[in-house]
Subunit: 449 residues, 4 copies
């Protein structure tokens, strides 16, 4: 049940985006943006072999090859087939084969995992991709209907979501391999972590009151970010930075995973059933914690000042109890983040992991501090259940079916992670997962009342 | 997991009450109230045989005999052993035997169900009860410390909770019996359902704005009702009455249980896994819906104007989608209910089932309507997740452990049901269950924005 | 799956017996035998309260009250309704209510456990029983058709099976009760265990060759004991007695439950999944093994020379590997047992537990030894899968459906136990259970080639 | 549990072979045989892409790449590392990486499926294979110890087992792929099925008596085929050929999968739980049965006279009941097969599917008939449980651990299939699987008493 739910979440954007209000770019801008986004997907696959791109190591994940095919399928199905008159589908089976879940409940039962997709071969998928790109270039040469421009914008947002998922899934796939290979070598591009000490965690105070949250601009947004509405906030404090691996290790050392008093009831049951003893990707090797990253396994000592990632909501909440704090709510978070620029350790930084904190934490903001790492590093679990905003209306028709239906049993996460494209995230963006989910780059922002 | 969670919920009051702020009654008032509450527990068992009182027909339920023992255990453990110097426990095994879950995780694994309690025999349990009552009478003869008075109040609230559960559990036990006997004969006491037609459902408008919710008085309340705090509400409308069995039958007839578009994703999975086709207690007999009640099975025709009960949150939400509405939120509900008297079809009415609506629905309120059935008939599923109020603090120590820890994966219900003692419920009272729960008297209040 | 299978086994005799070849007793003999067998069922319930008789503590078991009702149902359904013209059923619901599984797959789903049978009350069941007995007495006053005499014989064999099951189930029910009450006091009737040392285990040699097994007499037998047929046996040795608790404790102390090399693959998986560390009913109390019996819990020290019981086939086989032996095959067992009188610690001894061995083990047989405890004490797991004998034919019609259909995935046990009525067992009797079953009085007879 | 059990079975030969009695070939013969067997493994992979060779579509199966690596691992671990002094392992991780299950319970939990092995890449595996072959060639140039010759023989038998498994697994992998590609084109090599009508099924009579079964020769055999021993057989009849797809379709059309009277109890539960309606690989397409083969999907009409394959023991047994027959026992089968040459539709025929029957069924044998298809086409489910022969002794040490431990809950199959190398099978060869297994080429041989 959870599995299917998560699979759907991964792709909710496909449909959600369709009815989103997207500001229209001109053809020329779009053409350039299209080229850049599409290139990035392939660039992310460069370190992978065709065999790597087959692996599906957990039900939440999809193989990289599938991501590459499915993002092309989106443009073929929703753009080219409708707006390019002479367009011929690349292969008559692809329209159903790479459909994520829309008409395909019957076609793709859980047990027929996407890992079985040895055919079409990767080469075929890449030809498919070029076929789609060529056709789209032809489309953009002419007069492009407004709806088509809007859908290209959707398709690009959709592809950005899958770029994030691709890296998340590849990390799990490589971790599952008994040899635990790295995605990138330590020094292969990007800026790697420094090892300076973390700045002390401070708590920045806010007065609350009647605030507005939800998307209000003219650009693209999902329907679940709307409508913008008022929320009353009591005064609150929010941590100046995310919790680090070193701090989380203290929780572990203090018996955090064996003391029920810190845990939600269902969380405690999960700890026992899953035999959790640390975040996902942490393993004890010769008595020391080793943490698997996209650049291979590293010691806790090396990563202690970087933000802890891959914790479930249950672990985030337990940590907060242990620390005498609580998690931030989504309205608190957004009211703070809305005033900050969208910058931080996002996909473009090339780190592919969370950052050492000192350089960027707790910047002075006028005469006060302001919280750091609000964007990037880790999606931040909030203490808010994922529900519709007041006045939220599921859209009519089947395209609107897929956003509201996940509003049960999930918690909201905010802010993007080190594998989220910068242009994909914003202050009003609501991500959501089941509270036991750990395969995401999800971390901890403390708060208090 | 769910089972254990629900078992704990059933009894959360034991510990929750301990730290609640209870207004202190005088000894004399308390003595009388004690007598009445304790008598009622036994009176509820009068229609049952000792064998009936053994049955535990689902994990959520406990045998009636256990409820009778456990409520005495509360007074023995938290009152008598502490405040009555010469008090001797009735039986050295009872303190652990009738402990609900506090120290007993290891002692009472899931599989060792309470249905195995053939011993101590019911006679022994009743002797235990008298032993406790006699001792409490002795305690109340002297000078009673304030803390003891407070705990008696707690014990009585605790017992009221178990009275409701006892009837809920007995209903399930009798339904599970292949002969499906009635708890009470049709004409045995109480006022039975009339069969007049239901008043049309109207929607009453409220302006919202900045309202306060949460308990603010001097009487007893649970910690999860506090602190009182402000909430901003957008304008909303609330249904004048609960959804009836007849209306729900239209949803069924319209394919409600086979059309995924109405359902939350997890709800739809549950429908398919559990093969739900109607609310709990509805069975097709010779092509007609039969509905089991505490007064035996009745036809849908006979009950069509009474409020539908025993639906899960998933069914309530799906019905609301089908009807083009949504469920009420808990803040909306409380802001309306706070202005209404606590009256309705509660335990004291003796109906033991939901009511035909016409006589009491949509009363005129000045020049407008006001919603009816806000108290009694059915616990009303709200669209609000069960989370802590802003500033909610789990208490220190193990006594405080058991309220906050259930704040994950559950939805809030409001208003009490036809088996809730009147004095037990209030506008700020928050009940909560997992969204798939159906064994409770839970119904549907529609709303819209 | 296993559960349902075992439930059926428990009752397989109902139908199996019907087509068995039973020698016909005269009415007078039958009348007396009927009286004695029926009395014994009630006598076995004397130590139980009506509440005790409600308990169903595991899926393999049925409540004692159900056994008492179902055995009367047999006579009502297969005798009285057919052969006593004026017979009126006691209650129109009982014919389907107390049917074990024959027409009732739809009526009694797994989840509607027999423990829910609070009604009909025990008093009603006892009235039912007298009603049936009175009617049967009237039937026997007249001329009784041969088929009716045959079915009475069947009904009595059926009731004897349920007497054994009733005690097996009661033992589990009382063990499951947190207070672990005894069925009988230590000195209440019967002969209790002595504590002399066990005779050393010897191995008695047999030449094998072409032997005949299977039932060949004129008395009652089940169809799975037939046809009598030839089997070639290689020379073998068989242990002079069953394995004792003390010997089994050595296996435990030697790491038996944590060393995969002794176990069948599926057995080892079961040990880990079920967390087995000792036979059923063994518990570590203050560092010492305590063993629950129908006369209450006793120390291992007190029972060390009695036969170990309540082990699964997996445990029996693992013990044999550890001891450098193997289990006996059913053909070996029967070829030896056929020459011995049916005597031993069976139900009539009143011990209700396995015996200390010295007094009766390894009797001299002419100039040699002969194995002891072949009948009684424990059902002996054999190394033979439960399959049809050569030429076995499932009977035509639904009555024959229920013997052959269990011939998959089960192992044969031989010899009866301390709760088997003496007249119920014989050398050719084949009992069978899934290899993980432990709630039966099942023990270990070693052998070697 | 079943999964792990089956995984082990797949590879039982690795260890079983080690203690088998193998006649020693000369170095020269062995060198040639080694070359041929090793070549065949690679030849079987020719139609596959590296991506195909990654797929693991069910827990019973392994990826083709793994089979290719693991069979080289065998020679490296048991031959080269011990007998070739200067040998250097190809990669320090491979000894544990390609170990099937021996020391690796902890290393390869169920969830870390072999499908995650994107690395080492196929190219690396092929280099590994050449490294091993080169080293083995060097070993065979010199004086080769007898034990080494014996182990090479073992290694080749081991590799033949994996050749059969490789094709079995590839069939499942391609079937699981949504596009259902063929392994080989219809006309690519081998002799394809003809479509002549099947000869009528006759029953050939045998007298039985005291026969000997088990391996008695000087060549290689598994320990579970020994010791040769006597068995008494009653007279029996055995079907002249296997059951065809057309005949099995009649069973389906007669409601075979919805009539419990034909099924073993556990079989019936399995039918319902797994929703079986036909053999594995049969699908209804536009109202007609389509059967997937290694040469793609074909209609039932085209295959109706070929032997039905991929049925479980439960289905084979149910069919036999429906047909008024029973399955053959393993002793009956072997007593007949021992007099026949090992020839038939085995791997070398290149059909890769079962045959049309007329050309080879019911050959005249002197003045009578003799059964056909005893070798090849399908492994034949027998009515015999997989247990040790009288006097079977699990060998000392961990190498002997892996044959006897599967002797629980499985049934014996005989005769090899259309993907078994001819030199791998013999009359005494015992294959075994759990009764619900269907991914093997397993079919039905009827018999009667």
């Amino acid at each position: 049940m959870t599995v299917r739910k998560i699979q759907k979440e991964n792709c909710r954007g496909v449909y959600g985006e369709i009815m989103a209000t997207a500001a229209l770019s001109t053809s020329i801008e779009l053409r350039e943006r299209y080229r850049l986004v599409r290139q990035r997907s392939l660039k992310l696959c460069e370190p992978l072999t065709p065999e790597d791109m087959m692996v599906q190591s957990c039900p939440e994940a999809s193989p990289a090859k599938w991501h590459i095919a499915h993002t092309s399928w989106f443009f073929e199905s929703f753009l080219l087939s409708e707006f390019l008159p002479e367009y011929e589908v690349f292969d008559k089976d692809f329209p159903w084969l790479f459909n994520s879940y829309y008409q395909s409940f019957a076609e793709f039962p859980d047990k027929r995992l996407r890992a079985s997709f040895s055919r079409p071969a990767l080469g075929e998928i890449l030809r498919y991709r070029r076929h789609v790109d060529d056709a789209l270039a032809r489309l953009l040469e002419g007069e492009v209907p407004e709806e088509a421009l809007r859908r290209i914008e959707l398709g690009l947002n959709h592809e950005e979501q899958h770029q994030e998922l691709l890296l998340t899934d590849v990390k799990h796939a490589l971790f599952t391999n008994p040899l635990q290979p790295a995605y990138l070598a330590e020094d292969a591009g990007g800026q790697v972590e420094t090892e300076a000490g973390a700045d002390p965690m401070r708590f920045v105070s806010y007065e609350g009151g009647l605030v507005e949250i939800g998307y209000s601009g003219e650009e693209f947004s999902f329907d679940n970010e709307r409508p913008r509405h008022r929320v009353w906030l009591e005064p609150f404090k929010i941590a100046s930075r995310l919790v680090t691996c070193g701090e989380f290790a203290e929780f572990i050392a203090d018996g955090g995973y064996s003391r029920p008093e810190f845990w939600l009831s269902v969380g405690w049951t999960t700890v026992q059933e899953q035999k959790w003893e640390a975040p996902l990707y942490w393993r004890k090797v010769n008595g020391e914690w080793s943490i698997f990253t996209l650049r291979g396994a590293k010691t806790l000592a090396a990563l202690k000042d970087t933000s802890v990632a891959h914790v479930s909501y249950f672990e985030a909440d337990a940590y907060a109890h242990w620390a005498g704090r609580r998690l931030v709510t989504e309205a608190e978070w957004e009211s703070v983040a809305a005033k900050l620029p969208v910058e931080g350790n996002l996909l473009e930084s090339g780190r592919l992991g969370t950052t050492s904190s000192p350089e960027q934490v707790v910047s002075k903001d006028g005469d006060g501090y302001r919280p750091s790492q609000m964007f990037g590093d880790c999606w931040e679990w909030t203490g808010s259940a994922y529900l519709g905003y007041p006045g939220f209306q599921p859209l009519a028709g089947s395209l609107g079916e897929y956003n509201g239906k996940f509003m049960s049993g999930q918690m909201v996460l905010r802010g993007g992670s080190c594998v989220t494209p910068t242009e994909h995230v914003r202050a009003s963006y609501r991500n959501f997962f089941s509270p036991e989910t750990r395969w995401q780059f999800s971390g901890i922002r403390l708060a208090s009342s």
